[in-house]
């Protein structure tokens, strides 16, 4: 079975500071990897995804993530955050050939002025 662990439940950061949200997964087969963002009282929106190829993936709103197969990680980064980045962030994996997307527990990113 697959599982996803987001190592931090909450991350407070000052505006314009860099941020990293950590995600580790376990799977016996190759996976596709995703990061979603959920703004308050909204649905989930895709930030970026890793399917194959380059391990550094760029997404919307200045976010990027790096796939590290040996460490089974897919950490999300942004060099300079904005107040509008305050949201819940979810890492997710889907084993190749499977239909189900498995989500991590979420990380609440709070940006302080």
């Amino acid at each position: 079975a697959q599982s996803v662990t987001q190592l931090d439940s909450q991350v407070p950061v000052f505006e314009e500071a860099p941020v990293e949200l950590r995600c580790n997964y376990s799977s016996s087969v190759s996976v596709y990897l995703f990061w979603y963002v959920q703004y308050p009282n909204q649905g989930l929106q895709l930030l970026l995804k890793y399917l194959s190829g380059s391990t550094l993936v760029k997404g919307i709103n200045g976010f990027e993530a790096e796939f590290n197969k040996s460490q089974t990680s897919f950490h999300l980064r942004k060099p300079s955050v904005h107040i509008s980045d305050t949201a819940e962030y979810f890492c997710a994996v889907r084993p190749r050939g499977a239909q189900k997307l498995v989500f991590g527990q979420g990380t609440r990113l709070t940006i302080n002025p």
Partner: protein, 115 residues
Amino acid sequence: DTAVSQTPKYLVTQMGNDKSIKCEQNLGHDTMYWYKQDSKKFLKIMFSYNNKELIINETVPNRFSPKSPDKAHLNLHINSLELGDSAVYFCASSQVRRTNTGELFFGEGSRLTVL
């Protein structure tokens, strides 16, 4: 146009009642899902339909019954509502055949409160 739309957005009801949530997607996708998000924001898949066929049925009480009249619609009916059913229910869709990346497109959620 909203890609994945759910109704109602908010639902407040008494224990023991029966309620339904409807979902429609206009993306032409072949697969639709119901996810439940609890008060701690944890997202858990409940059901998935591919071209009207049930393909994922997680350990969910029998009181929950999904129905897909066509591949653009997936409804969720809940009988005999309990306090623990209070949550936000998300509908999602994806195109599995041909692309098979599994990227999900989510609706805005239906917040169910059982009193």
